[in-house]
């Protein structure tokens, strides 16, 4: 049986419906991310789970108990906020111990648990520091310790990393995931950053305009997007235009090459133009160990990004595809205008759409 159950949640603010018929079942100990652009309703769902907002309709069960009617203070859910929200008048120990004090724990018990929690987040020795004496990353680690100190049934994280610097963001997300695994605590993580969601989650719920677009593991979300929105929102997509050759056999033609694509839109007729969608990293520069389809073109632009070199390759006919390759210390990136050949596998085609439905990636 699932640990967290959201059933038919709807939420409106006045005339605006921000969450529509949201259903989710989550097993105990899982780490799930809500991912979507701002305004997609992900934070509202989180706040409904926490008890900060009432759903307009629907029910919330945690561990079999219907908590829909409970206040936030009765739900036993730990929460970490984007803006840290440490109590400025208390030091780190006071913050971490607050939930235990409220629960009526003894002084010794609180002290021991505070030490344990601060050790867990790597801040042992920082007990006496006030929030304004801590860096952003340290504050958020104290906030995490505070949230889990009273042994909540669940942990909710509301964009906890978006106020932090890039390097700290990466290291703290790994630390959060490690702690979550260690404690086995069921966790919901809200973010608009796809790399963050992909890298830490067991499961991802991609949301758009109040609806769930896809619910799956990171690998599937990225490699088998269920809707055009997910395909576009997560990662980048190249578009290759082709002409339908034989719709019945899923054959298309690019220039002189014919290829058998995994699928074609049902309405496609011979002679229609279709758009094949591929990830930039699925395309390779031809290097002797060639595979799959090869297409020739020339470099339209080249960006050296450090570990990755990103080329824009003009294949003629209006198609400029992006191609990522790793930096090689011995080889300068190609010059603009240089001719080259790219290869890809038909299995790498993420989706095939009618050309007039094309979106820019």
């Amino acid at each position: 049986m699932s640990f967290l159950d959201l059933h038919a949640i709807n939420k409106s603010f006045g005339p605006n419906t921000v969450v529509k018929d949201f259903n989710l079942s989550l097993a105990r100990g899982k780490f799930v991310s809500f991912l979507g652009p701002s305004g997609c309703g992900k934070t509202t769902v989180l706040r409904i789970i926490a008890g900060f907002e009432n759903p307009s309709s629907g029910t919330i069960h945690i561990d079999g108990q219907d908590v829909t009617g409970l206040t936030a203070s009765q739900r036993k859910i730990g929460m970490v906020f984007q803006a840290y929200a440490l109590f400025p008048n208390m030091n780190a120990a006071g913050n971490v111990g607050f939930g235990l004090k409220v629960a009526g724990a003894s002084r010794d018990e609180i002290e021991a648990r505070v030490a344990e929690m601060l050790k867990l987040v790597g801040l042992l020795g920082f007990e006496k520091r006030f929030p304004f004496e801590l860096s952003g990353g340290q504050q958020q680690r104290v906030a995490l310790a505070r949230a889990i100190a009273p042994r909540p049934r669940m942990l909710l994280l509301d964009e906890p990393l978006s106020a932090l610097d890039a390097k700290i963001r990466v290291s703290l997300r790994a630390q959060i995931r490690e702690i979550q695994r260690e404690l086995g605590i069921t966790t919901v993580f809200v973010t608009h950053d796809q790399e963050e969601a992909l890298s830490v989650s067991d499961d991802i719920v991609v949301m758009h305009a109040g609806l769930i677009e896809q619910h799956g593991n990171p690998f599937d979300i990225y490699n088998r997007p269920a809707t055009p929105f997910v395909a576009d929102f997560i990662g980048q997509l190249n578009t290759l235009h082709a002409e339908v050759a034989e719709p019945s056999r899923n054959m298309v033609r690019i220039g002189a090459a014919e290829l058998n694509v995994p699928s074609l839109p049902a309405i496609a007729r011979a002679g229609d133009r279709v758009a094949l969608k591929l990830r930039p990293e699925s395309m390779r520069l031809a290097n002797g160990h060639d595979r799959g389809i090869a297409l020739s073109g020339h470099v339209a632009h080249a960006s050296f990004l450090g570990s990755v070199v990103r080329l824009g390759i003009d294949l003629g006919g209006g198609d400029v595809v992006k191609l990522d390759s790793f930096n090689d210390r011995q080889t300068l990136p190609p010059e603009v205008g240089a001719p080259l050949t790219i290869t890809f596998l038909v299995d790498d085609i993420v989706s095939t759409q009618m050309a007039n439905q094309q979106r820019s990636a």
């Binding site: 926490a50 936030a72 906020f81 929200a85 008048n89 607050f98 629960a103 304004f132 505070r146």
Partner: protein
Amino acid sequence: MKHGFPIASTLIVFVAAAYFLVPLYATFQFSLQMKRGELSLASYASVLASADFINTLSYSAIASFAAILFGAILVVPTAYWVRLKLQKLRPAVEFLSLLPLIIPPVVLVFGHIRLFGSSSILPLTMTSTGTDILLIVGYVVLSLPYMFRAVDNGMAAIDIATLTEAAESLGASRLRTIVEIIFPNVRSAIVAGAFLTFSISLGEFVLASLLNRPAFGPYMVQLGEDRAYEPAALAILSFALTWILMLLMQLFATRKPNQRLLPRFGTGQSRKLAP
């Protein structure tokens, strides 16, 4: 951006400072000249020996403290709930808090005398205690713009809504949240508001005079019309008193980390100059 401006504007600041400090000094100097040809504290002795001074001062001080107490009790929860739950009412509340600056006090007094006069159902002006209550309420109203601003900005500096949610998610009741989280974090803002309330109430004339209360403001004005040197001494004394009180209040509020000495009305953003 490089030529001359600092000098010009530094000058302006000094002139502005002089505008306050020179009269203060002149008053002080004059207050020492009661005995012809020598500097003495005779005028101070004369003021301090007067029973009216002690009586009116203590009357006004008590009324001020009462106004501070009632003002804080009115303003802190209101500001808290408006920030927390009634964002849509904010403009209305902000507007209300400025009304005392816009409505001349005379209007308020007339209104109150009408409302609570001899023919009303709550004839407060008929008894001395009733009039005292009206005066205190008047002081609360006069200080509302400052008290509300100070507390509201104190709450803006910390994110009151998220702190409340954080406390709630840790199981705290609303009362516990207010007592352990909200109050300690706006204490210095309350002190700032209290200080301004005290300053205003102590010197206030129109309300006290129209309600015919034995307050410090009317006493100062009366003395100013009757005597020469004592008013100067009185002005200096009231100035000094206000400051001593402010220091005491600051000491009381000092436990909180990261506080400011001065009451804060605005955003006070400071600009990052170096990279």
